[in-house]
């Protein structure tokens, strides 16, 4: 595959964009990405079907963050209590029940930090190089589909996008 042409399809609705992605799936073409001004479930489902990504890896980072936070909270409270064995009124040196509050808060804190950092990391952010085919309209009122195709497939894919409802299809050098 030479892959030297990019087709940028502009769609008025997410239905049309998702429909075009489904058509690409049957073509079958996998070298594409979409742009949308808001998270569209239809586009997400269509893209998932093609790429078989499954669920976002952010979940795993959050799980790891939450577990790390809970363990850190436990170590901080119980560990420091045991380090200095201060007997106050015969109460247990490490009182687990009140420590649950600290453990819970630290679990949340680390889970949240895991969610945000993994979102940035897995989304390739921050990045100040614009993705190929990006138009400012894709952040406002239009949906975009950018497909990298071999020279011989350009006409076929262009027709496919127009059939799905593309308002315009622009050819760009990849």
């Amino acid at each position: 595959m030479s892959g030297d042409i990019e087709l940028v399809g502009v769609f008025a609705t997410d239905d049309q964009c998702a429909h075009a992605v489904e058509k690409l799936h049957h073509a079958p073409i996998r070298g594409f990405h979409t742009f949308s001004p808001f998270p569209s479930e239809k586009i997400a489902e269509a893209v998932d079907e093609v790429r078989e990504w499954g669920r976002s890896p952010v979940r795993k980072f959050v799980l790891c963050g939450g577990i790390t936070g809970a363990i850190s909270g436990l170590v901080l409270t119980v560990g420091t209590s045991w380090e200095w064995n201060l007997n106050t009124g015969g109460r247990p040196i490490a009182s687990i029940a009140p420590y649950i509050v600290i453990i819970f808060e630290m679990m949340i804190l680390f889970g949240v930090l895991g969610a945000v950092s993994s979102f940035f990391f897995k989304s390739g952010l921050p990045s100040f190089e614009p993705s190929s085919g990006y138009r400012t309209r894709f952040g406002a009122d239009r949906f975009g589909l950018v497909v990298r195709v071999a020279d011989g497939d350009v006409a076929k894919i262009e027709t496919l996008m127009r059939e799905a409802g593309a308002e315009e299809v622009v050819r760009e050098a990849a």
Binding site: T34, P39, V62, V101, V112, F119, G124, P126, A140
Partner: protein
């Protein structure tokens, strides 16, 4: 289905949302800057009183035995409570996919962050030696002794700092797609500013996929967090032996009160804001009506909590508790309790009327009463209970002095100044979610269009 819908009845388009946001964020006029300057002036006045307090000590306040917790702790609980409705609207209602939240949640979330920032100042203001506030941080002293992790005050440090971090990140993450939209439109220094803040966001399928999952999980974390934070704040009081405070009902009672007061303040802020910023098309009567129903519901929960509290005192027949509550109702400061019941239990009942729920002037007035009532509730609970603690010979009613009054007023100035600056430089309504809502309405083929301005 979607093709059969008459598109002409939908007045708002995706571009309308962008245009409105752009108009709201346009360079400000003289009135706006005068307002910000006025808020800054209030902060400066409060700051000067605080400086005097630091210099001369807490003796310049009305504090004294037996009331050593009063207005500052009242302010702390009040502002933490205000913060909670923001999380309720942004996180809890997000999990329930409640559609009306889209227009008001950014405002509520912003309110959350600035309210927590304001609340966080008060435990420091309350300290006689505020420069030692870091003693609450979990680090050992010179003898390697850590803070007492059994203490609700230490829990507070963890809860509030986690809450501030989470709500700030939640707000910041939700802002990224909207800031990217502004980056594409803006010119000059604003373009550079938004380019940095947008972090290169372009709304690709990969970015949205990770964004949606991270946002969902943040909402999932924020929901139990919001319950835990105000429960922890309530345990500052409930774990004490003081009559009038030592109660197991406090955690749910505080959470309901927090949501009640926070939704009240959202109404107080958003009603004039939608008028001044001309965003009636985005924040409609439908949204205000829905929000006022939450206020009504939480008011009923609060009323039930007050009744339960009194019932428990009567049922337990503890003479000291009975005496404390008798003083609360009929004592020298009984009028504060009366005001609290009037503002929190009786006036919100007007919201049963649909015509009042859809009248912005009435809603605004009621929301002001709700704010006053909830501040009074915390004051009655804290200063009132301590004033009439166990030994009657030690009773002394607390009366705030100018220092507390001006520092409290300054906290409102601080909050409003930050909020106003945010509203001018960053999107105060979520453009992304409003657009998502428009798409949903179009697909669902609804005959009514709740985003339209009420007739």
């Amino acid at each position: 289905m979607a093709a059969a819908v008459d598109q002409s009845k939908y007045q708002l388009t995706y571009l309308d949302v962008d245009r409105t946001a752009q108009r709201v964020m346009a360079p400000a006029g003289l009135k706006y800057w005068l307002w910000v300057a006025f808020c800054a002036f209030l902060v400066a006045v409060g700051g000067s009183f605080w400086t005097r307090q630091i210099y001369e000590g807490l003796g310049v306040t009305g504090y004294g035995q037996p009331t050593l917790w009063a207005v500052y702790i009242t302010d702390f609980v009040f502002w933490v409570g205000i913060a909670h409705s923001g999380t309720l609207i942004s996180a809890v209602l997000f999990l329930f996919r409640t559609r009306w939240r889209t227009a008001v949640y950014r405002c509520a979330e912003t309110m959350t962050v600035f309210a927590v920032l304001t609340a966080g100042l008060f435990p420091i203001v309350h300290l006689g030696r505020p420069w030692f506030f870091y003693w609450l941080c979990p680090y050992p002293n010179e003898r390697y002794l850590q803070p007492d992790f059994r203490s609700p005050l230490t829990w507070d440090f963890f809860a509030i700092s986690t809450y501030l971090t989470t709500s700030t990140l939640f707000l910041s993450m939700g802002l990224i797609p909207d800031i990217a939209n502004q980056r594409d439109i803006a010119t000059g220094w604003r373009k550079k500013f938004y380019t940095v803040l947008a972090c290169g966001w372009q709304g690709t399928d990969r970015q949205w996929r990770n964004f949606s999952m991270a946002y969902l999980l943040l909402a999932g974390f924020a929901t139990p967090l919001v319950l835990s934070v105000h429960s922890v704040v309530s345990w500052d009081f409930a774990t004490m032996q003081t009559p009038g405070m030592h109660s197991t009902i406090f955690a749910p009672y505080f959470v309901a009160g927090a949501i009640f007061s926070g939704c009240g303040l959202v109404l107080t802020l958003i009603i004039p804001m939608r008028k001044w910023l001309h965003i009636e098309d985005l924040v409609t009567i439908w949204h205000l009506d829905s929000l006022s129903k939450v206020v009504l519901l939480t008011s009923l929960v609060i009323t039930y909590s007050y009744s339960t509290e009194v019932f428990m005192v009567w049922y337990a027949q503890d003479p000291i508790e009975i005496m404390t509550f008798h003083q609360r109702f009929f004592g020298a400061q009984g009028y504060l309790f009366g005001g609290m019941v009037l503002c929190n239990c009786l006036i919100p009942l007007l919201l049963f009327s649909p015509s009042i729920r859809t009248n912005t002037i009435w809603l605004f007035i009621i929301s002001i009463f709700v704010n006053i009532g909830m501040w009074l509730e915390r004051f009655v609970l804290i200063a009132g209970s301590l004033s009439t603690a166990t030994i009657p010979t030690q009773w002394k009613f607390y009366v705030p002095k100018a220092t507390e009054v001006f520092i409290t007023i300054a906290s409102f100035g601080w909050f409003l100044m930050n909020f106003s600056l945010f509203a001018k430089f960053l999107p105060i309504v979520s453009m992304t979610e409003l657009k998502e809502g428009i798409g949903w309405l179009r697909k669902s083929g609804r005959n009514t269009y709740p985003y339209r301005k009420a007739a």
